[in-house]
């Protein structure tokens, strides 16, 4: 199932999406497939798998540390693609990574290899729409969704440009800053949701860690919530990881379900 089909299915049920993020290879390449399955059992509708980069400037300490653990454990794009290919779940998988890893592999080859291993979408936090033409072209060629971010600082003119180029869903950054959990999901989220007018599903990320926040975001008009650091924290803790991932995914999905999208 690809991303638009997934959102279509959810929409027909009046349901918001839970999009869960993990850093692939954290703490070891062997662990990732099991974690993804746990997230899906808990109710994740889409799973974003981070391909770790040595210098993740858009990420906070939580995901930076996860990237470090994964890289130390031998993660690289080849291993990543093998992991993705080995994951057997019926939800779309999205690759989130920094542009240099794509560039170095060769843009078209990267997209081709992603598709081969079962990736449906790509998010590149350091690739603004202005620099995305080559990747965009390859993504269109192979039927992969290229997902862009929109931030509270993004101007109307840029929002339009981003919406013209993006597909799958748009990733609304709930607040200024890097990834990481926060107790407040800011007012700017609601504002941003109303500023972005589009048929493409809108998912909100950065800082969401519990069911109440997830419900609030859907209430505010989002089609989905993206949760990353809260899951990565569980992995970092190293205790009952699989069970806790499933439990948190369920709590978040329940939050999402408590509101009609």
């Amino acid at each position: 199932m690809n991303i638009p089909e997934k959102f279509e299915e959810l929409r027909s049920r009046g349901e918001g999406a839970l999009i869960a993020y993990l850093c692939a290879g954290d703490p070891t390449p062997g662990a990732t497939a099991g974690f993804v399955q746990a997230l899906v059992r808990g109710g994740a509708d889409i799973v974003e798998l981070g391909l770790p980069f040595s210098d993740p400037v858009a990420d906070g300490p939580t995901i930076e540390a996860a990237s470090g653990r994964a890289l130390s454990a031998g993660m690289n794009p080849d291993v990543y693609l093998e992991i993705v290919a080995s994951i057997n779940v019926d939800v779309p998988l999205v690759c989130m990574t920094y542009y240099n890893l794509i560039f170095k592999r060769g843009i078209e080859k990267f997209v081709h290899d992603c598709v081969q291993s079962g990736i449906s979408g790509i998010i590149v936090p350091d690739l603004p729409v202005e620099e995305s033409e080559e990747l965009s072209t390859s993504c269109r060629k192979y039927g992969v969704d290229l997902i862009f971010l929109i931030a509270p600082t993004t101007t109307e003119e840029r929002i339009e440009r981003i919406l013209r180029h993006g597909s799958g869903f748009v990733y609304l950054v709930s607040r200024l800053g890097v990834t990481g959990t926060r107790s407040d999901v800011s007012q700017s989220t609601t504002e941003l949701l109303s500023r972005v007018k589009t048929k493409i599903p809108k998912a909100v990320g950065f800082g969401i860690s519990n069911g109440n926040q997830a419900a609030e975001i859907i209430e505010g008009g989002a089609d989905g919530v993206i949760v990353g650091s809260a899951f990565v924290d569980i992995i970092a803790s190293g205790k009952d990881v699989t069970a806790k991932l499933e439990t948190l995914a369920r709590e978040l999905k329940d939050g999402v379900l408590s509101v009609i999208a």
């Binding site: 210098d55 993740p56 240099n100 560039f103 202005e130 929109i150 931030a151 840029r158 950054v173 200024l176």
Partner: protein, 399 residues
């Protein structure tokens, strides 16, 4: 304003930046275009360059060095700029620009601590809150500069991630900027980063080359055969090169840190020579030449001099190297150290270890004679900050 070029130098440069910062980069570009030629702005800039920084700096004829190497050698004395390095030329420009743009807070990264110090100076002087990120390893080896920054009211945050050097400090400064972009100006310290930074920093540093043009004409009645500058990110190099780029007879040499050899292990390079050995890649917002592994993971770099210890290089330098307008070269830690001592003893000037790389190239090039008969070396900074490092190394040698 709609732009189509986004600061490309050939295929290099660009804006590979998180979305949150794209509007800030546009705002910065607009602010720069608006103020850079404005009389009021220029008046303030020139006032600070003269009365605060101490410009113009001398172009000094190094008599004994010239005699030894059989060529006329001039040193552009950026070591005499307030703070002890060329870095202040850029921080003055950017801080005044930030003030004009209504920003109240500066963040900066620093390697050797020279850029951090130069930022602390303008921050204190202009009354702007100033925060500097510095790799923990650099905090160790450049302790004096940490004290200097703190004395001037700057908060210095050691960065414990990655290689704990300049690259990691830039990551952290960018994260700060992403979070505080509304009131904060990111005062980047070299000709790196997303557009418009490489252009802005180059322009503010070009005062070096403009002065050299006049000074060498006055002293020698002609332009030099070659100009030599050490190259980390490349700001002192671009600053002295840029006004000469169109003077095709003037050869430009960018000397990188050859460290302990042009080799790499799995995760680290034993050097910082990204122009000489790096491959195309995207780092810190720009398409440039980068030290990386076969997957595109950035390698830790290495050098005796903290200021050159960086895995990337300014995109315009990558471009000038590609079109063969400049010659990338490198000298080892040991060669730089020898040149450091040589300048101390022969000219009574203690150079920065960074600048010692440029000096070391004179010896390296002496045999081939490629530098010609009239050479200008950018003496980008003074060596006081490096005394601890040098003393430690001497002890190791003599043990």
């Amino acid at each position: 304003m709609s732009r189509t070029t986004y600061g490309k130098y050939g295929k290099y440069g660009g804006q590979f930046s998180p979305e949150v910062l794209m509007p800030a980069l546009a705002e910065l570009e607009e602010g720069y275009e608006k103020y850079k030629d404005e009389p009021e702005f220029l008046k303030e800039l020139n006032y600070y360059l003269k009365d605060f920084a101490g410009r113009e700096t001398p172009l000094y004829f190094a008599k004994r060095l010239s005699k030894k190497y059989g060529t006329r050698i001039y040193l552009k004395r950026e070591d005499l700029v307030h703070g002890g390095a060329h870095k202040l030329n850029n921080t003055i420009g950017q801080a005044i620009l930030a003030k004009y743009m209504g920003k109240t807070r500066l963040v900066a990264e620093t390697g050797a601590g020279q850029h951090g110090t130069a930022t602390a100076m303008v921050g204190a002087n202009l009354g702007l809150e100033t925060v500097v990120y510095m790799g923990a390893k650099d905090v160790e080896r450049q302790r004096m500069n940490v004290y200097r920054m703190e004395l001037m009211g700057t908060v210095v945050n050691p960065v414990e991630s990655g290689s704990k050097t300049l690259k990691d400090a830039i990551n952290e400064a960018m994260r700060d900027w992403v979070t505080n972009v509304v009131n904060t100006h990111y005062l980047i310290g070299s000709v790196v980063g997303p557009h418009p930074y490489p252009m802005i920093v180059r322009d503010f540093q070009s005062v070096i080359g403009r002065e050299v043009k006049e000074q060498i004409m006055e002293k020698e009645g002609r332009y030099p055969d070659s100009i030599v500058a050490c190259t980390g990110g490349g700001s002192n190099a671009m600053g002295i090169f840029y006004p000469f780029v169109e003077e095709k007879d003037v050869k430009l040499f960018a000397v990188e840190a050859g460290g302990s050899g042009l080799k790499t292990t799995e995760k680290a390079a034993l050097h910082s020579a990204s122009l000489c050995t790096g491959e195309e890649g995207i780092l810190h917002g720009a398409h440039t030449r980068v030290l990386q592994d076969k997957y595109g993971q950035i390698l830790e770099s290495s050098s005796i001099s903290a200021g050159l210890d960086y895995a990337g290089v300014g995109p315009e330098l990558a471009y000038l190297a590609e079109i063969c307008r400049l010659t990338p070269c490198n000298v080892s830690d040991d060669e730089a150290l020898a040149a450091f001592h040589e300048l101390c003893r022969m000219e009574g000037i203690i150079p920065a270890l960074e600048s010692s790389h440029a000096l070391a190239y004179i010896k390296k090039a002496a045999e081939s004679g490629e530098l010609g008969e009239l050479v200008v070396i950018n003496l980008s900074g003074r060596g006081d900050k490096d005394l601890e490092t040098v003393i430690k190394l001497n002890k190791e040698v003599h043990r």
